[in-house]
């Protein structure tokens, strides 16, 4: 069994000075025929799909035709129209020295620029297939 452990990202304080709960992240490599993108992704059970990309991830899809168009629920934006693409995904250590394939994932690219964000989200379509332990300090994934 392979185990990947990631430290939560701190999220600072709210307007009243109360600490906002830290953010569980994992590190991913996404690969298509056009390129490869790697970086941190936020675990988000509020997102219905697989990967919600930032602009860097969208760039590795340039010129590829989407599989389909789908409306799905984003945790902040609500229902968003997205083009659905496939990419190979690898779980990685934060320094990308070790990786393991997690198979093909679907990337849901919003059709409107205003719905892009700087963060990449990993939604339930992927999370529901992984064995994840969250304890507030570390996110551990066992494969």
């Amino acid at each position: 069994m392979r185990k990947f452990r990631y430290v939560y990202e701190p999220d600072g304080l709210d307007e009243e000075g109360i600490k906002i709960p830290d953010i569980p992240v994992i590190y991913l490599i996404l690969e298509t025929s056009r390129g490869r993108a790697r970086g941190p992704a936020v675990l988000d059970t509020g997102f219905d799909g697989g990967i919600y990309p930032n602009i860097q991830v969208v760039r590795i899809l340039e010129g590829i035709e989407p599989l389909t168009l789908k409306r799905l629920e984003h945790p902040i934006y609500g229902y968003v129209e997205c083009e659905v693409y496939k990419a190979k995904a690898f779980l990685s250590t934060p320094n990308f020295s070790e990786t393991t394939s997690i198979g093909e994932v679907k990337i849901y690219v919003p059709t409107e620029p205003e719905y892009l964000s700087d963060e990449v989200l990993v939604g339930r379509e992927i999370l529901n297939n992984l064995k994840i332990e969250l304890d507030g300090r570390y996110a551990t994934i066992k494969l």
């Binding site: 590190y27 390129g35 993108a37 010129g63 620029p113």
Partner: protein, 86 residues
């Protein structure tokens, strides 16, 4: 590409809304009108000119370098995404 001055007529109420928005966002009237016109033309652009992903094509067509939206999530995670060509 150069720009040209034109004069247009719009209802006073709309002008007042435009001025409020310009003041709130700290941008010029012209900029808002330019962005609105870009969006309008984009919506009416022929589908055959489209490239995928649509969002990249829209950014390219509108010439937007920075995405500006109050709906945009602030960045909370420190690491950067790196893109490599295969």
């Amino acid at each position: 590409m150069g720009s040209k001055k034109i004069s247009i007529s719009i209802p006073e109420e709309l002008l007042s809304e435009l001025d409020s928005l310009a003041e709130k966002e700290g941008v010029s009237r012209s900029r808002i009108i330019r962005e609105a016109l870009n969006s309008y033309l984009l919506r009416r652009a022929p589908v055959k000119a489209k490239e995928y992903p649509t969002v990249l094509w829209k950014i390219k067509v509108t010439g937007a370098i920075r995405l500006r939206s109050p709906q945009r999530v602030r960045k909370r995670v420190r690491g950067e995404w790196i893109v490599e060509e295969i």
